[in-house]
Symmetry: D4
Subunit: 76 residues, 8 copies
């Protein structure tokens, strides 16, 4: 099991809608809008690093309006 | 009462005009053009965190030419 | 209710012990060791921003071995 | 007249006391404790860039417990 | 006299041409392409902070292909 | 001989394809997709700093979908 | 198999000696001194994320003179 | 010939004295105190990357009061 916290920068003006869209993804357990350097935090849980990478590269980052991600894998 | 300092990155070449536009928003008390990593600083004051978030997500970040924001909530 | 994600930099060589110590604090709901720019992530929940600030300033940051914190308040 | 926003990182566990100490300095108009990458924000106003630099280098940064500063000069 | 070092991020693939264009600006004394977080460094000298700000906001940042700037004013 | 590690930010949704395209470049010895602040790491080896700069400015950064690069030259 | 690039900040004045010491660690395959935001890059390879974390937390970060680390896990 | 811009973070309260000390080093051509994320900028010129690295690792970073450096090599 791999857990990851994904800090997300979004295009401006769309972050409330994105929050809803990200919540629909399999593998995404929680989504929050944040004050700070990043706009949204998504908590991802998958069976392996490889599956986390797939969810982020092939699903999350393909959502229109997401500008960039910074993924922090849980080490323990 | 929640006070927040919002550091703003803008598209290049538009920051003097943006400064004027941001000043018009309710909840925005002061606006400055800066030297440094960010282009503009806006000081926001609202009744609650929730209202600060609304002003930033639904008004400030919807202004054309704003590329990103980093909001620092005053803790005390 | 205020929820906050606190990214923590620690002195080197002490982060596994700190993780245990941070878990003991009231107001801290979850603690993770991370790969990335920060060493530990703590999830804090309190009744208000003020209480989150007290937990971070007066308890969490007083733990020996913590070098710095970056707190992201949940906006929604 | 030069106005500057000084973002301050502090040693952990001392930031509430530092806030009071920084407030005593001539040239410092406002001081806030923040959530985010920095711990304290000081607003400095002096007659010139040179005087802002003196206040920061010779007074503010000499206060015990301040670890680093990031000064943003107001451009307009 | 105000001297400033302006760290510049550019669109990818255009930085060698931009270097030439930035060199043409009054107030710009030196221009370098860099390895690191930023792509180009421009050294600006003007009579005042205000004039540095004008050169950066109204000339340099209006050049097509410049994505962002981080200006460090020389304090002494 | 100059060796450089190039941290690359990409447009979202294209990083797996970019990884393949970057691998084709002369001078690029290894390419990895990363978790963290950057999306891709490329290891570049050329005869001189100048040649590293040419590969990065004239080839790598001209690939569509690359948003920015942070090059760290090996010192020893 | 998990591969990780570990960016390391060191105390000043000790980085050439640290480079030698880090090279001795099992799991560390390559070590470089860098120009840029970080001082040293170590390439770590272990059987799992868990083992990478052990090498970094329990061995690498316990070396005197290391101030902080930023670990980027290879996703693919 | 290799030219490098070295951004320097210093212990607080010592930066004006450090500026003088850094100026004495062979290979250091100019030194400035800055407003921004870094405290001092040193311009280094040497015959090669290797010599720049020696000046920075063996001389500049050995000066007491320097906390960290970020070196940007000039690419062209």
């Amino acid at each position: 099991m791999t857990k990851a916290f994904v800090l997300i920068s979004t295009e401006t003006g769309v972050e409330p809608l994105l929050q809803e869209e990200i919540k629909q993804l399999d593998g995404v357990k929680e989504v929050y809008q944040l004050f700070g350097e990043y706009d949204i935090l998504a908590v991802v849980e998958e069976n392996s690093d490889r599956d986390v990478q797939k969810t982020i590269s092939w699903e999350l980052r393909k959502i229109k309006g997401i500008r960039g991600t910074n993924t922090m894998i849980v080490a323990k």
